[in-house]
Structures are given as structure tokens and as C-alpha cells.
Assembly symmetry: C3
Homo-oligomer: 367 residues x 3
């Protein structure tokens, strides 16, 4: 679904060779420059991965296609996180989960509602579909807060092993819930989302469909390049972080999250400006659901494969940020209509949370 508008970001592809050059001949720039270039390079690549996944899905029919989108829609974030995980940067990985969720829920949704609201006095959409997503998101935010509640409560008598078992169990429940959500969206209640899909197809009547081969080729190349750029990015994160004077959590929550979601961002805003608010919300909130219910559990499962089990214990500001975002978006989309002020409200809270993460001392996060 996140295909649109990528062309306008394609010029950022120039950062792919630049990043490669910087890595091979380090004398051309420092680690911070490499970090920034890899960030920019990932934006259009993530867009191409999304487009290829979608084209492939189109060829494979509604059900399988939906499943494909649901699985690979956030593949770029997953790859970055896996690379970071393999290097033991669990604070960054967890912060990028938080960041992706609040980035989609507040920044992408807020910008879409504001952009749409400036053109249209009031935008309406299917209330039941919106409430279903938002409630699942509440469930996810609560589930991701539980290990922190455990950690605080069990402070004295707690063991690392128990915390891992708790996180693993929660990851399994989240994954099963995701399966149920897919069943709801793709099988039992697909009519709720029918209007959206039609709108989407209509909105894209321009570009011709790709062949399966082309889709697969693009997907493979983009994935390989994203993996390469993630290597660079994660390798340089420590140096960049230190030279920019921000904390690991700030990098994860704000920087990495914004990069991985740039493509969804532009599509959601364009859809909102075409008065297809249901689709716009579906993209933004759907993406955060995928992060919470699919990417996060996957990262836990992979962390066991890597032999460095990760838990889901987030810092207090991360937990607060997730809960608050979800509550606010529920209040805003629960009545099936939006206006520009509601976009401003979401962006305000995003700004306030960015300020919080910016001022938090680095040591506090690791406590």
C-alpha cells in the first residue's frame, strides 16, 4: 500500500554510492557523515521494497498479497533492527520499536490529518475499521508495557531469566493476536476495508503493473542494499551519537524511526489530501500495528537465534510515549471524523515527546 510518491524521493538514492565511497575511503568523511548518508540512502530503498512487495501482492491475489504486505511491509525497519541486534545494540533496537510506533501514530497520522484538514473542513471514514486498529494498538502498547511493570515490581527478587521468559511469552501472544487481526482484515471482515482498497487502486491507476520477475528482482536488490546501508548505519551509530551529543534512545526513537517510515509518511499524507482519510489512517496505524505485533515479536525470536536473548523491557519514557500516543489517537479517530486541529494535537504531543527524549540524559536510559 505504501507505493505512492516514491519517485519524489528517488534522488536520495544518490546517497547509496556516497555511503559506499565513505566506507571504503574513510578519509573522505567521518563516521557521523557516513551515518547521515546511510540514513538518507535507506529512505528511497525502503520505498522501493514497499512498492515491489505491493506489486508482487497484486499478482498473487488479495489474500496472499495481503499476507505478503503484512509480513514485508516494514522489512526495512526489520533489517535495520536485526543488524543492530546482531551487534548487541538492544537499547537502539528497542528504541526503534518505540519510535516506529509513536512516529506512525503521532507524526505520520498527525501530518496526514493536518494536511487533509487544511483542504477539507471535515473528513469522514469507517469508524469500525479505525476503532479495531486503535484497540489492537492499545492492546499492543499495554503488552509492551508489561515487562517494565514486572521489572519495577520485582526489583529486588528478579532474575534475568524470568524476564526473558516473560518477554518471550508476551511476544508469542502478540504474534498470535497479529494472526487473528490478519484473519479479520483479510478474511472475515474484509468488506470493512473494501472501500479503502478500491480507493487505493483508483489512486494508482497511473503506473502500469510490474511483472513477477521485475518485482522479485527489485525486492532482492533493494533488500540487499538496505542490509548494506544498515551495516554502515549501525556501525557508525556510536560515533555519530557521541558527536551529535544525543542518547542512544534518541537515535532509535527519533532518527531511525523517521527513516524507516518516510515512504509510509508520504503516501499517507497524499491519500489524506485526496480525502481518502480511511486509507491514510490505515497506512499509518497499520504500520505501527505491524511493528508492535509482528516486527517486535520477530526480533525477540531472532534474538534467541543470535544467542543474545532480548527482552521487551522499555524505559519509563518509552512506555509513557506509547500509551499516550495510543490514547490520543483513539480519542481522535474513534468518532470516524477528523479536522485539522486534531492533526495539530497529534503533532504537538509528538513534539513534546521529542523534547523529552532530547533532554533525557544518556545514562538515565541505561539504568
Amino acid at each position: 500500500m505504501n507505493s505512492f510518491l516514491k519517485l519524489s524521493l528517488n534522488w536520495l538514492l544518490v546517497f547509496v554510492p556516497i555511503a559506499v565511497v565513505l566506507r571504503i575511503w574513510p578519509q573522505f568523511g567521518n563516521e557521523t557523515v557516513l551515518f547521515i548518508c546511510s540514513c538518507f540512502a535507506i529512505v528511497p530503498l525502503a520505498g522501493w521494497m514497499g512498492r515491489a512487495t505491493e506489486e508482487l501482492g497484486e499478482r498473487l491475489g488479495h489474500g496472499v498479497g495481503g499476507l505478503l504486505n503484512a509480513t514485508f511491509g516494514n522489512a526495512a525497519e526489520l533489517i535495520i533492527a536485526l543488524v543492530a541486534l546482531s551487534k548487541g545494540l538492544t537499547a537502539v533496537v528497542k528504541a526503534s520499536i518505540t519510535g516506529s510506533i509513536i512516529g506512525n501514530v503521532l507524526l505520520v497520522t498527525g501530518a496526514s490529518i493536518l494536511a487533509g484538514g487544511i483542504k477539507f473542513r471535515e473528513q469522514r471514514f469507517n469508524k469500525t475499521a479505525a476503532r479495531t486498529s486503535t484497540t489492537t494498538l492499545t492492546l499492543a502498547a499495554v503488552a509492551l508495557a508489561i515487562p517494565t511493570v514486572f521489572h519495577v515490581t520485582a526489583a529486588g527478587s528478579w532474575s534475568q531469566a524470568t524476564e526473558h521468559k516473560l518477554s518471550l511469552s508476551i511476544a508469542i501472544v502478540l504474534f498470535l493476536t497479529y494472526t487473528c487481526l490478519l484473519g479479520f482484515e483479510l478474511v472475515t471482515h474484509k468488506q470493512l476495508y473494501a472501500g479503502d482498497l478500491q480507493d487505493n487502486a483508483e489512486g494508482q491507476q497511473g503506473p502500469r503493473r510490474w511483472s513477477v520477475l521485475k518485482s522479485l528482482l527489485v525486492l532482492m536488490i533493494a533488500t540487499a542494499l538496505v542490509a548494506l546501508m544498515s551495516e554502515f548505519l549501525v556501525g557508525a551509530v556510536e560515533a555519530a551519537r557521541a558527536s551529535l551529543g544525543v542518547s542512544e534512545v534518541f537515535v532509535g526513537v527519533i532518527v531511525i524511526a523517521v527513516i524507516g517510515n518516510a515512504a509510509e509518511h508520504s503516501t499517507a499524507v497524499v491519500m489524506a489530501m485526496k480525502n481518502k482519510m480511511g486509507l491514510s489512517l490505515g497506512i499509518a496505524i497499520g504500520s505501527s500495528l505491524q511493528i508492535a505485533l509482528f516486527v517486535a515479536p520477530m526480533l525477540i525470536f531472532f534474538s534467541y537465534l543470535f544467542g543474545r536473548p532480548m527482552d521487551l523491557e522499555f524505559t519509563l519514557p518509552e512506555v509513557v510515549a506509547m500509551i499516550v500516543s495510543v490514547q490520543l489517537v483513539f480519542q481522535i479517530d474513534g468518532d470516524g471524523e477528523t479536522n485539522w486541529l486534531e492533526g495539530v494535537q497529534l503533532l504537538s504531543i509528538y513534539l513534546i515527546l521529542c523534547i523529552l527524549f532530547f533532554y533525557l540524559p544518556a545514562e538515565a536510559h541505561e539504568g
Copy 2:
């Protein structure tokens, strides 16, 4: 209201004599077996108490009958808790309050919505009635969280006596709110619930009504047996807890709460499968309201009679569990319609909370 389906649980009555035998001749089994048998024995007895209360209510007319149901509807939980209270097991008592609330809100409601949602694509009910109950539940959850907020804030300069006065004051406010809620449901806005009652009567056209004498007799015998079984259960709880390797809070939150609510559970599910979703939600959420606004204050008042004042300070996981359950059910029933996925969402969170309580070390609760 919780009359239905008890017949199918009646075979569990066989555990009443078994429990008695085990208590008199301990050589036939250990304390853990006695604990489990008393648990099973209480399930059908609680059902019979409910049925008798309801039959009596039917004879006494709508107003008095409603009041009777509102007062004795959770008499089994009240008796178990009183027995535990008299032995000073306040952690178990408080955990059984939490457990009854989240059990009804998440497990019973979730199972009903799922069961109903499998048969019907979408189930509708009176939104105002549902919102009224859920908002009262939010109020109750917040009120029960206040002593914990006090405890955390006043940490250094706090005194046991002040904490008891605070809890007692809150219990009085909750009790007065309950009186107002009854006035709303039984007097000023009874029409909102009229459809439900009619549905209920219709759903039960089968069985003939009992005489007042029969109702009273059944009520007395069932109450006496519940009290006896509670004695056994509470007496064996410490041994059972240790041998099963779970904490006191886990026993209260999960085990005791499930036993006391088994009858409501089956009735609510049956009603949902008959597409009487309003009634189903009324039973489940009504039962948790009764626990929070009537049983909990009663236990505080009785604790003064027993000379061992109890406070309402819950552990952090209990507070989180109550707040989260109430928020989720508000998001789900606030729009007056449900579907199967919403049942799954409630059950997911219930599962996640059970996992949390299971992994929490026993000492952490007592801190």
C-alpha cells in the same frame, strides 16, 4: 440473572462430599487435593445461590428483586473473602477483588464476545447502558488505585492509621456511588435495561418459577455449604500455594476469581450466543461493578468488625491490570457493537496479565 446453564455444572456437586471426606480423614489426600476439591465444589454452589437469589427476586417484584440481586449476586465471592479475611490473609482477599474484576471484564466478556462473534458477524446493543457501566467501572478502578498512589507518594512520612482512614473513606464513597448506580438502573433509567430483562425472561421460559420457601431453603443450604467449602479452601491455600509453586496473589487473582465467577461466565456466554449481547455484557460488567463498588467496601467495613482493619492498597501489577482492563473494555463496548476480534483482544490481554502474575516472584507482592 446468572441462573442459566447451572445444570451442566451440577455434576461438580460431587466434590462437596469428597472435600468433606478429605477434611475428616486427611489420610485420603493432601491439602493441595483438598484445595482443588473445594474449588470445584464452590462452582455449582455459587450457581445455586445465584439461581435462588434470582427466583426470590422474581417473587418480590422488579425493584426489591433488583436490589436483592445487586446485593447477593456475588455472595459466594463475599463469603470466600470473609473467611480469608478472618484468617488475616489480606493479600489473598485483595488479589481476589482484582481477580474478580479483571476476570469478569476480560475473560468472561472476552469469551462472550468471541463466542457470539463466531456466530454473528456483528452484535449490537444499547450504547448508553454499556457506557454507563464502563464509566462507573473506570471510576472504581481509579478509586482502588488511589491508596497505592498515596502509599508511593507518602513513602517516608506515611502512617498505617492514615492509610486505613483513606481506604475507609474511599470505601464509603464507592458504596454511595453504588447506591446511586442502583437508583439509575432500577428507578430513574430502568427503561435502558428493559430490553435486556425481557430478553432474559424469554431466554428462560423453560423452567418453572420456584416458591419463596424453596428459594429461601436453597439459598440457605447453598450459602452454608459455600461457607464450609470456603473454610476448607482458605485453610488449605497456604499448603496448596507452596506445593503448586505459585504466589498468594496468583491464587487470588486467577484461581479464586475464576471459581467465584464460573456461573456468570457460562450464562454470559450462552446469552452472547443467542445474540443477546446487551444482557451478556450486563452480566459480566455488572458482576465486576458489584465486586468493586459493593463487595470491596463491605470487606473493608467487615475488617473493622473483625478488629483487623484492611486497606485498599493494591500492588502495582494489580493496579495496572485493573486500569488496563477497564480502558480496553471501554474502547470495545463504547460504540455499541462488537465482533469476534474484540473478544480475542480482551482474551489476549487476560492471557498477558496471567503470564505477568505467574512470573512475578512471591516476595515482590508482599513488598
Copy 3:
């Protein structure tokens, strides 16, 4: 908007000379009596300030008038807080912010809904307008909780300067959000509030309009007297607090908040009893929005002018009280209809929070 019913409070003006006498000849009474007299004296003065602001607004046309009301509507609270701020009583200032918010949201709204609900079975109003205010209020409550989250998280490695910068940044965001809210209410979506304004005008057909000169004169005199009474009140607060045995936070949260909002209170209740529920909610919730988004940031800005920067770090009970109030009012007004029980629910929570603030030991607040 808060003009009505002031006449009935005018007899309280007698406390203005009494307070002056007590201040000049202290032998007639102690500090506690002076404190109580200044409290009573402010109530009608705040009413006159509101009336004058409104009359002036009427003369200046809808847009400018709305802006004037939005800026000076809570001028009495602002003056009291500025006087307290200039004497370094930041705990009282912050508590009066909390108190004004929860007082308006729970006490004023609750009393209005109850009073209206006793006369009318069900009262309806514009859902979108109500949701917009309530969501902005949620945003504000969250924003005001962020410095506390920062404080708790950064415990070890935290610096006063960072905390001030964080609070200042949040104050700026809140102020900008308020500007957007005014743009929404007075410019882009003023139709949503049109019905209310008409109702208001209609409700006040009685009294003749004032001239600009009269309005300005009344405004100046009332402002000067409020400033004088605030001097007395703040000067006596320490002695009064000690002799009444309550904490600084209790004084701020309960006493000062109730005084400053007495005029809004009576107007909101009268409107509710005339079945103008939209207007009634608009006054109460609008007033708390003004406190959170305009008065609180202003106080932060002024605190820099006074050379004693204030932060927005509230105590845990204050944060809980704000979040809880906002959540409850959202659940109640989000469906566009109210009944008497919902008034009781708001009042119950207000009572429970008062009990909490009453029992909290004084030292705990300053921790």
C-alpha cells in the same frame, strides 16, 4: 461567558472592606481569618472581572471579543498565581494549576451534569465540539505530566537547568497549541460553537449591555481589588495552612482553585438547568483548557521575568488527578449526551481526590 448569576454572589463583596480592616488593624483577627476573608472577597470580584471582559468583548465584535475572553477569562487565577509566584510559593502555584483543572473538569462539570440531569432525563449537545475540547485537555494533561516523567527517569543524572529548559519548551508548545485552538474555535470552525453563543445571548437577554467605558472601569477596579486581596491571601497562606493543619498542595488544589472558579461554576450550573448543556460544558472545560494552555505557560514565562524560573514538575498525585479527570470526562462527554449519574461519577472522583490530597502528609509533597 461567565457573566450570569453574579448578583447572587455580590453580598460577598462585604469581605473586601473586612479584609482591608483586618490587614490594617491585625488586632481584630488572626492571619487565618484574613486568609478566609480574602478568599470570600475574591469570588464576586472574579465574577465582575469576567462580566466586564465579556461586555467589552461584546462591543469589540465576535473575533476580538473571543480573543479577549480567551485571554482574560481566568485573569483572577492568573493574578493570585502571579502574586504567589513573586513570593516564591511555587508549590502553591503549581497546585492551583492542578486544582483549577480538576476543579473545573470534575466539580463544575459534575455539578452541572447532575443539576441538569435531575431536571432532564437526558441532555444532548454537539459531540464534535465536546470531543475537541476534551482531546485538547488530554494533550494538556499529558504535557503537564512529562516533566514529572523526566524527573523520575533522570533521577540520578538530572540537572535543575535541564528541567527548566524542558518545562519552558513544553510551555511554548502548549501556548502554540492554544493559538491553534483559538483559530479553530473563533475562525475555521466557529459554526460548531454557534448554537452555544446564541443560547448564551438568549439566556442573557435581561441585562442591558454596558458601554466600553463602564466595562473598562469595572475591569480595572475589579482587577486592582483582586490583586490586593491576592496579596492578603498569599501573605496569610502559610499561617492559615499551619493553623488549619492542611498541606500547601491541599490549599492550592482545593481552596484556591474553588475560589477562582466560583463564577464559572454558578454560570455552568444555571446553563445546565436551562438544558443548554453544550454551553455549560463549554464554560467548564473551556476554563480548564485556558488554565492548562494559557495560564500555565504564562506563569512559566513570568517566572523568568521574576528571575525565579519555575518548572512544570508536579507531584505524582497531581499528575494522577489530572490524567484521571480528563479520562473520565472524555468517557462521559464523548457520546454527546449526559444523564444525572454521570454527574455523580465526576463528583465521586472529585471527592476521592480531595480525600487523597487531604490525607497526604505535607512533607510528601515537597519531596
